[in-house]
Structures are given as structure tokens and as C-alpha cells.
């Protein structure tokens, strides 16, 4: 399958990629934002921030303010909260003739990224005209471990991330680097971890802002071995109940059993399961089945054929109070 190029100019029919930027105050979000906006890349980004007059963001750039309003979708599911004002602001940005190469959405230090992420699946207009590219969390190398231990928001921000950018790495003794990465991996085995140095990430911007992390076609990077290594790594004690679980299986799965199990699981425990990602080997299907969910909003599709690769299923859960034994048993009960 030809992969889409990592950078492409938005045309009226190309959804605008949106990157959600999270991280605690002082982690270096604003420094990164200013680097992205001022670097010579010839691209046009809009920034959506929580308040105007925020220190350090150049107000000559195209910025729009969103309210913190969060509302529940009246579908009986209390975790299906979306950001109504975000829908409004994005709809307004789409009324401008000027085409955007991307939208950067900065959330406040304590905001839970889930309602932001769900907004991109819940509203038909926003879903048609934009695509959520990734959730990017900036973490301060020196302080993130104490923040993880002391606040419930920090583990959620790490757990939700597709990319974790670590700032101030030079201020952390080299002996602690491995421990830091181990801590982050325990919470999030699938995120890309990279460094950012005074606002300059070690990754090229087009890669950072073109992760396609929510694109099922691009979600072929769940490496079972790598995930297993992370799982077997040393453990860290912090007061959050957030953890991850990765499951692997070679036996093909029964699609109906899997659908029933997953639908029931997300309906009953979707509030605690932050993210689910899976690349699955479905019985009698030559193609990979790729699946993802943010809380209980899920989607899945068949993508590319397994070809020469041995078909195998990998499923990763990141969530609060995961009943790992039950999840494992449920997954194994889906064998065809």
C-alpha cells in the first residue's frame, strides 16, 4: 500500500490536520508553539487557545479563543463529552477562504484531552473537514515524575498521548533517563517519545504534526515485541490507577465474538478505558483489521493484507483500574 506523504497541502477536499497540545504549565508548550509558528516552513497554521492575552504567544498570529465549555452528548453516556465551543471555533475557521495547513489546539495545563479528542469524531462537519492528527504531550524531564505522583491529570495526559515530547532533558542527570522513560512507557506503551530542546523538537515538524495517529490506515505500527518489552520493564509506584495492558495472540479471531466483546466492554467500562488500539488477525480474512477507541467512541476497518508477515493480533488498552485478568480472558474468548 502506498503510504500517504507525510506532508501535503490542504485542498478544499483534504481534511485539515489538527494537533492537540497538552502538558502541564511550565512544561514548555508555549515555547514549542512559538517555534512551530515562527520556523521557516512556509505553512499556515491556526492556533486555538483557551484565553487571549496568554503570556508568550505572538498575538499577530491567527489565534482564536475557545471557552472551556464541555457538554455531554444526550445519548446516555456520561463520558461522551465534547467541546461545543471547539466545534463553533473550527466551523468559523472553515468559513475563511485562506486554506490552513494545520490547526494547533492548545489545552490548559489541567484539561482532560478526551473531550477534545471526542469532538473530532462527534460532530459531522468537524469530522468531514478536519482530522485529528495526534495528541502531543509536553513533559518536563525534571518534574514529570513528581507530577505523575501528585496529580491525577498528569498520568491521563501521558496516557492519552500519541507523542510525548520531553523538555529540559539536559537538566536531568543521565543516570535517571532510563527510569524516566520506563515510567512513561508503563503508562503509555505505544506513544512516540522524543526530546524537545528549548522549543526545538528533535523530530522534523512535518513528522511531528503529521503523525496520522488516528488514521486507521496508518496505525500499523503496534510492534508487539516492543510493547511486550515495555510491559516487562521495571515498575514504578505512583498514586494514579492508570496503567496499560498489551495483549498478543496468533490464533485468528472470530469477528462477531470480538465485536460483541468489545462493544460490551466499551459500553460498560468505556469511562475508564482511555484509549484502545488494535491490529487484529481475523479468521478467513487476508487483511489486517485495525481498531481504535477513545473511551467508548470506536472505529475499525480492514486495511492492508498481511502478505509475507505472519498474521498475529495485538491489542493495547490504556486506562484506569484495568481488570487485566478479565481483559485477557475476554480477548482469548474471541478465538475463532
Amino acid at each position: 500500500m502506498p503510504l500517504a506523504p507525510t506532508t501535503q497541502h490542504s485542498t478544499p477536499n483534504t481534511p485539515i490536520p489538527v494537533t492537540v497540545l497538552t502538558g502541564f504549565l511550565g512544561a514548555g508548550k508555549t515555547t514549542l508553539l512559538n517555534h512551530i509558528l515562527t520556523a521557516q516552513h512556509g505553512k499556515k497554521y491556526a492556533v486555538i487557545i483557551n484565553e487571549f492575552g496568554q503570556a508568550g504567544v505572538d498575538d499577530k498570529l491567527l489565534t482564536a479563543q475557545v471557552d472551556e465549555e464541555i457538554f455531554e452528548m444526550n445519548n446516555g453516556c456520561i463520558c461522551c463529552t465534547v467541546r461545543g465551543d471547539l466545534i463553533r471555533i473550527i466551523t468559523l475557521l472553515l468559513k475563511r477562504a485562506q486554506k490552513l495547513d494545520g490547526i494547533l489546539l492548545e489545552t490548559t495545563g489541567l484539561a482532560n484531552p478526551a473531550p477534545v479528542a471526542q469532538t473530532f469524531f462527534a460532530d459531522p462537519t468537524v469530522a468531514a473537514k478536519t482530522r485529528l492528527d495526534s495528541i502531543l504531550t509536553v513533559a518536563d524531564a525534571v518534574h514529570i515524575r513528581s507530577q505523575l505522583a501528585q496529580t491525577p491529570e498528569a498520568p491521563e495526559q501521558i496516557a492519552f498521548a500519541d507523542t510525548i515530547l520531553i523538555s529540559k532533558m539536559d537538566e536531568l542527570p543521565q543516570a535517571e533517563w532510563e527510569d524516566l522513560e520506563g515510567t512513561l512507557r508503563t503508562l503509555n506503551p505505544t506513544a512516540l517519545i522524543a526530546r524537545v530542546n528549548r522549543g526545538v523538537p528533535e523530530l522534523p515538524l512535518e513528522q511531528l504534526l503529521g503523525r496520522h495517529a488516528f488514521s486507521l490506515e496508518h496505525m500499523l505500527t503496534l510492534d508487539p515485541k516492543f510493547i511486550e518489552d515495555a510491559q516487562n520493564g521495571h515498575h514504578h509506584h505512583h498514586n494514579s490507577a492508570i496503567s496499560s495492558l498489551s495483549l498478543g495472540m496468533d490464533n485468528p479471531l472470530d469477528p462477531e465474538k470480538f465485536d460483541d466483546w468489545m462493544a460490551n466492554l466499551l459500553a460498560t467500562q468505556g469511562q475508564n478505558i482511555l484509549r484502545t488500539k488494535g491490529v487484529l488477525n481475523i479468521a478467513h480474512e487476508p487483511k489486517r483489521y485495525v481498531f481504535q477507541a477513545v473511551h467508548m467512541m470506536s472505529e475499525g476497518t480492514f486495511t492492508t493484507p498481511w502478505g509475507d508477515q505472519k498474521p498475529t493480533s495485538t491489542l493495547v488498552f490504556i486506562g484506569k483500574n484495568l481488570d487485566k485478568a478479565a481483559l485477557k480472558e475476554g480477548f482469548y474468548s474471541c478465538i475463532a
Binding site: P12, N13, A64, Q65, D67, E69, F71, E72, M73, N74, N75, V82, G84, D85, I87, R88, I89, L92, L94, K95, R96, A97, Q98, D123, P124, T125
Partner: protein
């Protein structure tokens, strides 16, 4: 859905305009030829009359966009994304009315009874006089304004927002407003023609109705798509919306009950193929609805017989990137129809020529 052959082509004229085309409105004056204003995301206001070879372009905001447009007896009022309000006569003379301190003005309404212009930017509502643009008052709502409607009777304006709608008395804006509560995000808003009902389009693809005499709530659910447009029939008895596979006509013939306990009559239904109505405009004089769909098709439907004629075929059938019809607007005499699609094409249909053909 019965569709008869295409009418003669000379009744239609199409121009590609720089888009997106965010709003259409016709002039109100009856003593001059009707003029249609088209607000573009390039910051240009276009004016179009039947006799013109092409629309007149008035660049109002060099780097901005026109986000909202309303037709008043004083002329057209537009709002830019930088908070500028302009008044433009149908002849094309433009004056800057005001620059609001709040950018992204996205809703405009005009109260004929109070002769006031109402502008909503975020959670701020501003009332201005016309034609001079003097700010009469501002009001802060609890959350961002999703829709704005001036009452057809009396001096009131209603603004929808999260968890309800707030009604202000334009003659006494300092008085405590009336708040109608209903949980959820309320967007587009309309008053019934008799002023007895207020109807909002909700984020969760339902319409909510408040009976103003006693605040009774009614909810009409089951729309397959988003609802952003309301249009009343010429006699004020039927409310049409977009967001369905066809156009539901909610009946308000019963002044007390409204559509409670009734099913909407559906016209111009596209069936189960997933095509949705993206724009609807009821004819100002007779039982007709102009209807536009997600794939770019536009029809004129007779709301009594449910017979339709084709107004515009989808530009490129079966394309992966359809261009939905975004706006439809009738001239007050009902002889001219303007139609905008998502790619910025504007079509004028002249029904006086159709009638004589």
C-alpha cells in the same frame, strides 16, 4: 420522488465565485429590483441583480472573511472575522458601521420593531442603531451564542447557547432576561411566524421547541444529519429544516399544540442512500420548497403534491468529493432563486423566464 425533465437552460446562470460562500440574502425594498447579497470567506461582498452579466464585487475585508449577513430595510449588514460591521446599500454603497471589540462575529439579526441590529460574537450580544451603527447596549451571556432570532412580534431578541435560550427585551435590556432551559448545545434559532414558539437546532441532531406562553418543552428527534437551517412556509404554518433525507415540514396550524403529537410531512425525500438535505428555502408566495442535497443536487418541490422539478444536477456524479448545496435564497417576489454550493458556485434561477417558456 418524481422528477420531471430539466427546465430550459437559459433560465439558469452560474458564476464561479471565490469562496467559501457563507451567506445569501435578498434586499427587502419592494420599490426597486431585488438584489441578492453573497458574503464570501474572501472578505468580498457580491451583489447580484437579474440584469447583471456578473455579480458586483465589493471587497470589504482585505485579509479577512465575511462570516455573517443580514438584510435590513437600511441595506445589507455584514460582519467580518475582525469584528467590523458594514452597511451596504443594494446599489453598492458601503459604510463602516462599527468595529466591535469582540472578533469573530458569527450571527446577525435585525429587529424591525425596535429598528435595531443585533450582533453575536462569542458570548457577547451587541445592539446597534441603523444606519449609524451607534452601540445601544451590550449583554454578556453565560456561554457562546449559537443562534440569534429577533421576535416577529414585539421588541425581543432570543439568543441560544449551552443549556438553553435567553430572551432579552430590547426596550428594556437592563431588565432580567427570560431564560428557557434545556440541557445541551443549542445552535440555529427561529421564532414561529405568530411569535408563539421558539425553535432551536441542537448539536445532537434534534430540534427543540419552547411554547412561549408557558415554557412547555417539545423535542423532535431522529434527524440523520446536522440541522443548521430553518425556513417557514409563506403562510407561516409549516417549518422546514435541513438535516434529513428529505425535508420535514413541522405543522404549526394548531396554535396551541404546535406539532406536538404529529408526524412531520416529508417532501423531496432522497430515500435511504445516505444523501441528506443540506439547504432548504420555502417559497415566499406559494407551496414550494427549494431543496439542496449533499451531492450537489437541487430540486424545487411542490409541498402539496410532492412533485419535484430539477433545478441543478450534481456537478460530477459519483465523485469522491461532492459539493453540497450550502445556501438557497428566494427573492421576496418569489421569482428569483439564488443557490450556492460548497465549491463557491453561485446559480441564479429566473422563474419568470421559466413560467413563460
Amino acid at each position: 420522488m418524481n422528477t420531471s425533465p430539466t427546465p430550459p437552460a437559459n433560465a439558469f446562470t452560474t458564476w464561479p465565485l471565490p469562496g467559501p460562500l457563507n451567506a445569501l440574502a435578498w434586499s427587502q425594498a419592494t420599490d426597486a429590483p431585488p438584489t441578492c447579497a453573497i458574503a464570501s470567506g474572501t472578505g468580498t461582498l457580491f451583489l447580484l441583480r437579474q440584469s447583471m452579466a456578473q455579480p458586483l464585487a465589493l471587497p470589504l475585508a482585505a485579509e479577512g472573511a465575511l462570516l455573517a449577513l443580514v438584510s435590513t430595510p437600511h441595506g445589507f449588514v455584514t460582519a467580518t472575522d475582525t469584528g467590523q460591521l458594514h452597511l451596504t446599500t443594494p446599489q453598492g454603497e458601503t459604510t463602516l458601521l462599527a468595529t466591535l471589540p469582540t472578533p469573530f462575529t458569527e450571527h446577525l439579526a435585525y429587529s424591525a420593531h425596535a429598528d435595531l441590529l443585533l450582533a453575536a460574537s462569542g458570548r457577547t450580544l451587541t445592539a446597534l442603531s441603523l444606519p449609524h451603527g451607534e452601540v445601544k447596549f451590550t449583554s454578556q451571556l453565560a456561554s457562546s451564542i449559537g443562534g440569534l432570532a429577533a421576535s416577529p412580534i414585539g421588541r425581543r431578541v432570543a439568543a441560544s447557547h449551552y443549556n438553553g435560550t435567553t430572551i432579552l427585551d430590547l426596550a428594556a435590556p437592563k431588565n432580567p432576561p427570560r431564560t428557557l432551559e434545556w440541557k445541551g448545545s443549542h445552535l440555529a434559532l427561529t421564532y414561529s411566524v405568530d411569535g408563539k414558539w421558539l425553535i432551536s437546532a441542537m448539536q445532537e441532531q434534534a430540534i427543540h421547541l419552547w411554547r412561549l406562553s408557558d415554557g412547555l418543552d417539545l423535542q423532535m428527534r431522529g434527524y440523520p444529519g446536522p440541522i443548521s437551517q430553518f425556513s417557514w412556509s409563506h403562510d407561516g404554518q409549516l417549518l422546514a429544516t435541513n438535516g434529513g433525507s428529505g425535508v420535514p415540514l413541522w405543522s404549526f396550524k394548531d396554535k396551541l399544540k404546535g406539532p406536538a403529537g404529529t408526524q412531520a410531512q416529508v417532501v423531496a425525500d432522497s430515500g435511504t442512500g445516505g444523501m441528506l438535505v443540506t439547504s432548504v428555502a420555502m417559497h415566499p408566495k406559494g407551496p414550494f420548497a427549494a431543496v439542496g442535497y449533499t451531492d450537489g443536487l437541487a430540486l424545487l418541490a411542490n409541498t402539496q403534491s410532492n412533485q419535484s422539478i430539477l433545478l441543478k444536477a450534481p456537478p460530477t456524479p459519483n465523485t469522491q468529493h461532492p459539493t453540497p448545496i450550502t445556501h438557497l435564497a428566494w427573492s421576496p417576489d418569489g421569482l428569483l432563486l439564488t443557490l450556492a454550493d460548497e465549491s463557491g458556485h453561485l446559480t441564479l434561477t429566473d422563474f419568470s423566464q421559466l413560467a413563460s417558456a
